[in-house]
């Protein structure tokens, strides 16, 4: 550190970058609940928020005194760049005394914004300090209380703010000195003050490992808060709670159409399922179609099963149609697919797609903003059962790729089968010749791996979904002439072969025609309901795909990703449920969203315990 003189640091300096990296890592580990976009953490002293007798150096971490130091009127302080965010739960920084200077009148502590900087921390209201010369603590007062030992050159003094109980304690050379202040106000800044010439101190906001084991202290509070939550008294209502929980699980399964699992669960817990069986199966079928990209069929099925639904939801219809267009580009929609000669086997195209863990983020973003990142509740609750109930379908499709007809017949008996469209079954026959080639084999074996992955994978969150997505692409587009001839295998082979509408001329024409219809629909909606910028944007994005020779690798290519189907699927599902006077969101998701939001709200209202009560700590 010594050779890193003041100002000699540049961004290109590898040492600096390393330290910066280490700082970020440490802060992330110590304060995972802090959203630095809202509430940045202190990382250095503020060159703006200091008295003129204070000099800063070494990336604003070193503080030295440059005044006369005649008496207490020459005292000078500096605050950190940002206040301590409440979401830290427990916050800690250390200060090393490089030199005690003439008299060692140094104060280490906390102060609110606006407190006079021509003073040592602790002397004024909303200011708190521990002073080296006498070891006293100063709690917003000119007279100190006996607190700890004195400190001097070479000592490392730490200051820990507990935002859960609003107290503060100090450490000296890694030893806790006990509580110094209680009832601290919010939004305090780390602060140091010096008073005589020669006094120099270095701050450590996480740039280096701390001398005191703060993580051990945090672990104690984490355990305390988890214990508090786990032992939350529910009194006499134990039975009620169990019923509520069972109801939540059951409704979640029903909501997403996991019919077999839901009935098994209902049997085991002796509860009732609210919705009737056919209704669930219908929703399941429609969802599966959307997730497979066969949006046209999904629209058809919806209109048939829930007449009037889409008519009453023109926005939803428009979104569906837009998606249908995108899927035509993709070559997945049945209107296009029936025209191409190399349609993949229908059943295997989205193995166990209804099992797919619903993507929570999009459907209920207004209450569940964190949902995209956090592993969603479905994962914790249902994976093993789901895979069990559908494993027969998956394996029968996968293990006998060459006998597609038998596969489809076997699956048609399964409740989760989607073998209802005529065009679809003819596709599967057509796909026969291709399914014998080596690529097919490879992809089949991949499929098994994927399927296995899937059962575990559901709990892994977004990465699994992307894997499935990629896999679907491959599978859908895989029977491509070149690859057969060259024997090219692997992802690249498929990617190179991807063509607009599967490369079929008739299909392309159908797509363009559909595009025109879509345009017309938009105009119609505009006339009836006025301009809708979301629609316009959606339509623009969809049409933009045509402008590129390789739509999959273009700026708007993201639309083609199968994961994009999930939000639409969930919107359609919710609309159907709503039309049946059922909740459009499962209570489990609501509760989860509520809890997540509540924890975030705690951070905003400065309740430090939010740091250790994170929802994802309780999942898994």
């Amino acid at each position: 550190m010594a050779e890193l003189g003041a100002g000699s640091l540049s961004l290109g300096d590898p040492v600096f970058n390393y330290q910066e990296h280490e700082l970020n890592e440490r802060l992330k580990r110590l304060y995972p609940a802090v959203n630095e976009e809202e509430t940045p953490l202190p990382r250095s002293w503020s060159p703006k928020d200091k008295y003129s007798y204070i000099g800063l150096s070494q990336s604003n971490l070193r503080v030295h005194y440059k005044g006369h130091g005649k008496n207490h009127k020459d005292a000078a302080s500096v605050r950190a760049t940002h206040p301590i965010p409440a979401a830290c739960g427990i916050y800690y920084f250390e200060v090393k005394i490089v030199s005690k200077g003439r008299d060692g009148y140094m104060g280490i502590g906390l102060s609110a914004q606006g407190v006079n900087m021509n003073r040592l921390p602790g002397w004024d209201k909303h200011s708190y300090g521990y002073h080296g010369d006498d070891g006293h603590s100063f709690c917003s007062s000119g007279t100190g209380q006996p607190y700890g030992p004195t400190f001097t050159t070479g000592d490392v003094i730490g200051c820990c703010v507990n935002l859960i109980n609003n107290t503060c304690f100090y450490t000296k050379n890694g030893i806790s000195l006990g509580v110094a202040f209680t009832d601290l106000p919010p939004n305090l800044y780390p602060t140091v003050g010096l008073q005589t010439p020669g006094e120099i101190v270095d701050a450590n906001f996480g740039q280096q490992p701390f001398v005191f084991d703060i993580e051990d202290y945090m672990s104690e509070w984490r355990a305390k808060i988890h214990g508090m939550i786990a032992r939350f008294p529910i009194g006499e209502r134990l039975g009620d709670w169990q019923a509520v929980l069972q109801n939540m699980v059951s409704s979640y399964l029903v909501h997403h159409g996991y019919y077999a699992t839901a009935t098994a669960f209902a049997r085991a817990t002796e509860t009732m399922i609210q919705e009737d069986q056919t209704s669930i199966k219908n929703r399941q079928r429609i969802q599966k179609l959307v997730l497979e990209g066969r949006v046209g069929e999904a629209i058809e099925a919806t209109q048939q099963l829930y007449p009037g639904l889409l008519e009453h939801n023109p926005n939803l219809l428009f979104m569906l149609k837009c998606r249908q267009f995108v899927e035509m580009v993709n070559g997945t929609d049945s209107e296009v697919r029936c025209l191409t000669i190399r349609s993949p086997k229908s059943q295997g195209s989205y193995p166990g797609s209804p099992n797919l863990s619903p993507h929570q983020g999009a459907g209920n973003s207004h209450i569940h903003t964190g949902g995209v990142d956090s592993p969603t509740c479905s994962n914790g609750v249902t994976p093993s059962k789901k895979s069990k109930s559908h494993s027969s379908v998956v394996s029968s499709n996968m293990k006998y790729p060459s006998t597609s007809s038998s596969a489809s017949s076997s699956t048609s008996s399964s409740p989760s089968s989607i073998n209802y469209s005529e065009s679809n079954s003819s596709d599967s026959t057509k796909s026969q010749p291709h399914s014998n080639n080596s690529n097919q084999e490879t992809s089949d074996s991949e499929m098994e791996i994927e399927a296995e992955h899937y059962t575990n994978g559901v709990v892994e969150g977004s990465s699994t979904r992307i894997m499935n997505g990629t896999y679907k692409h491959e599978e859908i587009l895989q029977p491509d002439d070149n690859s057969i001839g060259n024997g090219v295998t692997g992802e690249e082979g498929y990617r190179n072969g991807r063509q607009l509408c599967g490369g079929n001329q008739a299909a392309t024409e159908r797509m363009i025609q559909f595009g025109r219809e879509l345009q017309a629909l938009n105009e119609k909606l505009c006339r009836e309901y006025g301009k809708n910028t979301t629609h316009k944007k959606m339509l623009q994005d969809a049409f933009s795909l045509l402008a590129y020779s390789d739509p999959w690798n273009c700026p708007v290519g993201q639309q083609l990703d199968p994961t994009q189907r999930e939000s639409l699927c969930s919107a359609l599902n919710s609309a159907i449920l709503e039309s049946q006077n059922l909740p459009k969101q499962p209570p489990l998701v609501l509760a989860l969203g509520q809890a997540t939001e509540c924890v975030q709200l705690m951070a905003r209202v400065r309740s430090g315990s939010c740091s250790f009560a994170r929802v994802d700590n309780f999942l898994l």
Binding site: P149, G174, I175, L177, Y217, E220, R222
Partner: protein, 631 residues
Amino acid sequence: MKNAVIGNNKQKANLIVLGAVPRLLYLLQQTSSSLELRTECAVVLGSLAMGTENNIKSLVDCHIIPALLQGLLCPDLIFIEACLRCLRTVFISPVTPVQLLYTDPTVIPHLMSLLSHSHRTQEYTTQIFSHCCKTPEHQTVLFNHGAIQNIAPLLISPSYKVRMQALKCFSVLAYENTQVSLTLVNVLVDGELLSQVFVRMMQRDQPIEMQLTSAKCLTYMCRAGAIRTDDGCIVLKTLPCLVRMCSKEHLLEERVEGAETLAFLMEPDVELQRIASTTDHLVAMLADYFKYPSSVSAIADIKRLDHDLKHAHELRQAAFKLYASLGSNDEDIRKKITETENMMDRIVSGLSESSIKVRLAAVRCLHSLSRSVQQLRTSFHDHAVWKPLMKLLQNAPDEVLVMASSTLCNLLLEFSPSKEPILESGVVELLCSLTQSESPALRVNGIWALMNMAFQADQKVRVEIVQCLGTEQLFRLLSDPDGNVLMKTLGLLRNLLSTRPHMDQIMSSHGKQIMQAVTLILEAEHSAEIKEQALCILANIADGNTAKELIMTNDDMLQKIKYYMGHSNVKLQLAATFCITNLIWNEDDGSQERQDKLKELGFVDMLHKLSQACDANLSDSAKTAMQQYLA
């Protein structure tokens, strides 16, 4: 039977009275009976053992232990577990003689071998070990049978109970045992040093019991010299952990154990005492130990009151112990302790508590604080601590007496304002009786207190001491086998003979015996310090008006003085030279004759030689002596 006795002590007692135990034991031992039956027997016996202490006694009287130990040889794991479980329950009872585990030498090795069988055998076996390891001999037996290697892997067992019992085992094995401790520091568990494993088990999110027991293990290893006191795992982990255990948020039992272990950890190390004194307001935190039973608990909750009452003594004695340890070296810490709220009052009342443990701890604390000159002058006098201390000295057991008399020694120092009132309370007789004690520590303290008392005392006190002690006892003490006693007795003599008129008076009545005793000491094999004391006594005698003749007429003694003037030890040379200086001091009557006689004996040459000595003190005093001839 099993279902009838579960949770019902009355039924258990009934069954025992009806003679069920011998029958069950008979069935258990019948190899011809089915394993299920034998196992059920062991289970019922285990259930009976869960009852009252009387139940356990009856079981032990029926020779249940050898029968169960025999059962452990059966190959069936379920049966072994049932037997072990029952054995465990019997052995953890305080009424079972632990020696029964060690009677048959094949038992321990067999138990060790069972450690590999299952979580249950691990849990029960280690629990039996930790309850039956009470003496250094037990530690050695277990150690020699590979306890460390066999139990160490259990520290990372997936079962919490196994980890906890293994940890407890190590804490009893390492207690005051250097051999075990030195082995432990080098043990690796899954590639990790044992001390690091203990540190991990001490993390703050671990159960308190585990943190506390790990801290005990590290404390014992440190006290046995296996870990340095400045090691990070002691300073930054063990000590803070133990301080935390003293805080209000923990159970009373944990607070007692934490404080006692902490007191033990830092007893010999002033640096640890300093760190502890600033950690988490420990000194103030301990004041809370005296607030049980609290006024709130008395009214609100009978159950709590009972609990508090039961632990109140334990808490107080633990706090006194910890204060004693904290204040044993550092003056600032002592000041901090005495300034704690009502501290001196608490000690004073602690000295007269009914519980012997509290009295002992209180007097230890007082003793620790009495090493402070400032406290002796101020708080000790203000609170008249001598009064309860004197009371404590009447009819107390030896361990209390040792501490109390040692404290009294400090209170009798000449600058202590308590000295006067103590003298008036008739302490001399008590101290003289202590010098006749069997215990060397008590003899030392008795004579030491008398020595302090005689220092610059007035004639009345000196006479009282001499009369009360009696010359016979005084000379018996001069041949005491304990070097310390001898030292302090010589010191007493020196103080008694320190001013001329008193000395002449004493020498006129006891001169012959005293000279004889000094001669004996100078002739015998003793340490230089003791001989120095003897020479100093001679120097005092040489300063007397009439007493100096006792030396001048004793040629043998003069030869001895001369010998010590030429000794290799400077201190002895110096003391001998003082002796001569006093004899030839020319302001005294008859100095000329003495000077002449000593010159004849060659002392002047000797002084010449010494005036050339390298040691400045010695050459100066030799020169002073020479000047007496010149004047």
